[in-house]
């Protein structure tokens, strides 16, 4: 594996962005650190920032470990990321609009048809439909990793309901509360405009039939969902109702919510439930999470659903390889952010290469998520590799492979003091009338030494992410 890039110290020198933090770290006595750490945990527990894990035993309300050492970007680093993310979000939306309409990119031979139309996330029910402002994915979460001072790679795109933004906001709150001086000494761009921007973005895609101030709601599967805290947190920050399927009903051309003053019309639904659960009449009939008849209202322009049903076809791991192509095709621009080189096992040549080099590659299931269903070749033993080989041979189209990237590492508080741990980044791009992005994102950190898996369900933690102001 290549050399790990350390975000703080490059070739023996502390990088400019981290200068103030170096002093902060050195001046902090161990007992103060322990005290602050438990204070942070108490704050998280107290305000109830937990993610729910049901069915595994133990405390169902768990804290995601919070690391106090921030991860820092300079203004110029961020400028590039910002442009690259907006570009990608625009291209992904253009792609979605196209594949549910003219399919020009397919006709131009740039993307194989079967990858789109045979895709599980492709939604036949919305072919030919045009959502307000032709926006399909309103909240785009782009996962990024860094391998060097100027090397950033997009790991994956999340066009449906990317989660974690509440941690971005709360990590900042907690850092400001515990270390106010850091915010005096460093000029850190604020992220607290996120909720306001989200509300404006959602309001800006209200359906045409909406002739007054649009009523926006967040639709949650309910309190047992692992991200329920985030749903209620966002609803609270935006000042909109947090609804469950049972709170909504369809009558006539519109969707209504049940209130203590009778039915109230709903114009925009930021749904945090999957496509399959939106409308039992249209999709899964056994689900109680959605609203019967909602898709009809949606298709006739009575309500906007964010992100649009069917948007998932753009964030598939097989489609991912074509995003640079989309950028060139729809925007006529060169991609600012690179993809990780990816082999598609569906292609015979690629598959052959992958099978020959399993011990050096990361292999992922095309539809997998949450860090499950993954082979990290260099870390795996022989038996695991052979088991994966059999799975790939059985169903090659289900897998892609990527080289093991040397993910950058950021200083992190560990038992023995401060040590580098691998990190990734998920910024959240909002697409409505405009494309907007707050300076920051969610940095996830692999707390176990050497581990590359930053996912919270696999022992990952989170950090505050700073973008230094100009």
């Amino acid at each position: 594996m290549a050399q790990t890039f350390n975000e703080m110290v490059d070739q023996g020198h502390v990088r400019e962005a981290y200068r103030n933090l170096e002093k902060w770290q050195n001046d902090m006595p161990g007992d103060l650190r322990a005290m602050k750490q438990s204070e942070a945990e108490a704050l998280f527990r107290r305000v109830g920032i937990t993610f729910a894990v049901y069915g595994e035993g133990g405390d169902p309300e768990r804290l995601i470990p919070f690391d106090m050492f921030p991860r820092v970007f300079t203004a110029s680093e961020w400028r590039k990321l910002d442009r690259g993310i907006r570009q990608r979000a625009a291209a992904l939306n253009a792609f979605l609009a196209d594949v549910y309409d003219q399919r020009e990119i397919i006709r131009a031979g740039r993307i194989p048809e079967h990858l789109v139309t045979k895709n599980e996330a492709f939604e036949k029910a919305v072919v030919g439909f045009r959502p307000p402002r032709n926006v399909w994915s309103h909240i785009v979460g782009i996962d990024l990793v860094r391998t060097g001072p100027d090397q950033f790679y997009v790991l994956e795109d999340n066009c449906r309901t990317p989660s974690g933004v509440s941690y971005m906001l709360q990590n900042r709150e907690i850092m400001m509360r515990m270390f106010p001086n850091l915010f005096v000494e460093n000029r850190i761009a604020p992220v607290d405009g996120y909720a306001d921007t989200l509300r404006k973005t959602l309001a800006s895609v209200a359906p045409q039939k909406c002739d007054s101030d649009p009523t926006v709601v967040i639709l949650t599967p309910g309190q047992f969902n692992s991200a329920y805290y985030e749903h209620s947190f966002l609803a609270d920050l935006m000042g909109v109702e947090l609804v469950e399927g049972q709170d909504l009903f369809v009558d006539g051309d519109f969707c209504w919510m049940r209130t203590t003053e009778g039915p109230k019309k709903v114009d925009v639904i930021y749904r945090r439930i999957d496509d399959a659960f939106i409308d039992p009449l249209c999709f899964r009939p056994d689900s109680m999470l959605g609203v019967p008849g909602l898709m009809n209202v949606y298709r006739s322009g009575g309500v906007t659903i964010c992100s649009a049903p069917g948007a998932g076809v753009a964030d598939d791991k097989a489609i991912y390889t074509f995003v640079p192509e989309m950028i060139r095709f729809y925007l006529g621009e060169a991609p600012i952010l690179e993809n990780v080189p990816t082999w598609q096992c569906a292609k015979a040549d690629d598959c052959k290469y992958v099978l020959e080099n399993l011990s050096e590659l990361v292999v992922k299931e095309v539809h997998g998520s949450g860090g499950y269903g993954m082979l990290v070749g260099p870390k795996a033993d022989r038996a695991t590799i052979e088991a994966f080989r059999a799975k790939i041979e059985e169903r090659p189209s289900n897998y892609i492979a990527q080289p093991t990237l040397a993910l950058s590492a950021c200083p992190t508080f560990v038992e023995e003091g401060v040590a580098p741990r691998h990190v990734d980044l998920r910024p959240y791009c909002l697409v409505g009338e405009k494309i907007e992005l707050v300076p920051g994102g969610l940095t996830r950190v692999a707390l176990n030494e050497g581990s590359l898996v930053v996912n919270s369900s696999q022992g990952g933690g989170v950090k505050d992410t700073w973008v230094l102001a100009e």
């Binding site: 527990r45 107290r46 305000v47 109830g48 309910g222 309190q223 209620s232 609803a235 609270d236 109702e241 947090l242 609804v243 469950e244 049972q246 709170d247 919510m257 049940r258 209130t259 203590t260 003053e261 009778g262 039915p263």
Partner: protein, 317 residues
């Protein structure tokens, strides 16, 4: 406000009030355990406590004979007992968690911290737990939460639904406790007016934290008439049926005003208030205390049903 939000606030308050009632009964039962056995060795106080909560049968099935330790476990910690302090607090907290955006951070904090403390109790070795500490804690937690609600919640519709939960549950609890006194505490009618009767009325007063209020208000010896007056008709006593019903009416009228919409719930509640406001203790005894209480509980349930239909179902009548 979403009907479901209103419903969670309402039930949160009902569970909080119920947790306090259970804690009070536990406290009284334990206190009685310390008293000498009067009235011919008859000792069914714990059974009466269980009966008051409608939990005597489930308890017997699970634990057999009522001894203090089992009853403490059952009434405080047992999550299979829906009236246990633990169940009520967990339900209240779950309802609060779902609608935390409708609560101030102080209220959520008070509920959530209380819940964490209770779990701490649960993890503590039982031999290190004194019953009094547990019941004191539960009553203190209840007061803390009520104080946070009173001190920080906006006087909007959410506040009214919380208030309704408290007042409807409280009316029901007071009526139940009174009824239990009459039919369970007293093994037979021949005990009426006896020393046992006296002690048990005093017990009832304690279970309502009303002993001092009684002494200050009525002077002299404890009689069934005076107690019935205090717990049913006294406007000054916060747990009396009249006070609780008045609270329900106030909250419902505030809702109607806020929504600029008269409601059936409000007229049902005003109807009940009108009936009992004019009563005397003699009227109650003429009807028969038990009959009166049953009728009251039914009427109180009608208020709850009307609240449900008017506000909590989301489709107005």
């Amino acid at each position: 406000m979403l009907s479901r939000t209103a419903s969670h606030l309402y039930w949160m308050a009902r569970y909080l009030e119920r947790a306090e009632t259970t804690a009070r009964l536990l406290q009284v039962g334990a206190r009685n355990g310390l008293l000498p056995d009067i009235g011919g060795g008859y000792r069914n106080d714990w059974e009466a406590v269980l009966q008051a909560l409608g939990q005597l049968e489930p308890f017997r099935e699970k634990y057999g004979d009522p001894n203090q330790r089992n009853i403490e476990t059952f009434l405080f910690f047992d999550s299979s007992n829906p009236a246990s302090v633990m169940s009520c607090m967990a339900n209240a907290r779950e309802n609060a968690r779902v609608v935390r955006t409708a609560l101030t951070s102080q209220v959520w904090d008070a509920i959530n911290m209380s819940f964490q403390e209770m779990q701490e109790f649960h993890r503590t070795e039982r031999s290190k737990l004194m019953l009094n500490d547990m019941t004191d804690w539960a009553l203190r937690a209840g007061a803390l939460i009520r104080g946070a609600i009173g001190g920080t919640q906006l006087r909007d519709d959410g506040y009214r639904f919380i208030g309704l939960g408290y007042s409807i549950e409280r009316a029901d609890n007071t009526a139940r406790l009174l009824d239990v006194k009459y039919y369970v505490l007293l093994p037979s009618l021949s005990y009426v007016g006896s020393a046992l009767d006296q002690t048990q009325w005093a017990t009832l007063l304690r279970s309502m934290h009303a002993h001092r209020a009684f002494v200050w208000t009525y002077k002299g010896e404890i009689t069934a008439g005076k107690i019935a007056d205090l717990l049913i008709l006294n406007r000054q006593f916060p747990r009396s049926l009249l006070s609780a019903t008045q609270d329900s009416v106030d909250h419902l009228e505030a809702l109607s005003r806020g929504y600029k919409q008269p409601s059936r719930a409000s007229s049902v509640a005003r109807g009940l208030l009108g009936e009992i406001a004019e009563l005397t203790v003699e009227d109650v005894f003429d009807e028969g205390l038990h009959q009166f209480l049953l009728r009251f509980m039914r009427r109180n349930d009608q208020i709850a049903a009307a609240v449900q239909a008017t506000y909590l179902s989301g489709v107005p009548e």
